[in-house]
Point group: C2
Chain length 108, copies 2
DNA sequence: CCAACATATTCCTTTACAAGAATATATGCG
DNA sequence: CGCATATATTCTTGTAAAGGAATATGTTGG
């Protein structure tokens, strides 16, 4: 959890992750899109990969990076424990739904 | 979003937040519980407060810190956009539930 | 096999920030 | 009022990590 948060808690990495949310991108595409020099992009992607947030596949000379779902799932599960903080804002229907979903995930 | 992530992406702050998830705590309680010196606890709480993650109330000489729901809600909403990443892992029932909940939040 | 393109790696410098130590600022009680 | 308790603030230092520049590695097409 901490590792995921640390990886995301950097402006350029967060931007990269948000770009990858839409679809996978090559290093060069990310570099162009954000005006970040290619080596830094590679480094950030390396950090993200080490944290398990992205995976690479080769496509000709390009390396295509894509998001990995697992850490985001874990972050989501972690947030579950904090839902009680704002539970009162949900109607009872919302709470039922929430409870069903919580149990569902718990048995996965 | 970035601010929230940065605030959470530090081991001791994350531990503090997890403790506050259960219930509000005073500075001294947190200091004792984790063996972190009081000044660092104050500093970390200050960082968390600056990021809007916690709020303080006075109780005699003690300062009681409690979690603020909003940033966690925002983090949750941010994660919504990433749910499509693992949507295929849900059964159709799960997807229905998820869809209901997504719309519910969207109209708040 | 070589040229050109795409990405990764290394080295260096700078900066942000967490921790330590000391001290300042409340707040309540005898 | 003054002492004790609780918390905040300041100053300093060490360290991790982000950015820049240069270069190495890798891959493909001709």
């Amino acid at each position: 959890m901490l590792e995921t948060l640390v990886a995301l808690a950097e402006p350029n990495r967060l931007r990269i992750v948000e770009a990858l949310r839409a679809k996978p991108h090559s290093v060069g595409e990310l570099s162009d899109r954000f005006g970040i020099r290619q080596p830094q992009v590679s480094k950030h992607l390396n950090t993200l990969k080490a944290a398990g947030l992205v995976a690479v596949r080769a496509e000709a000379q390009r390396r295509i990076y894509a998001l990995e779902p697992k850490p985001f799932q874990e972050l989501d599960r972690w947030l579950e424990s904090y839902r009680t903080l704002w539970a009162e804002r949900y109607s009872s229907l919302g709470e039922v739904i929430q409870e069903i979903q919580r149990k569902k995930r718990g048995t996965k």
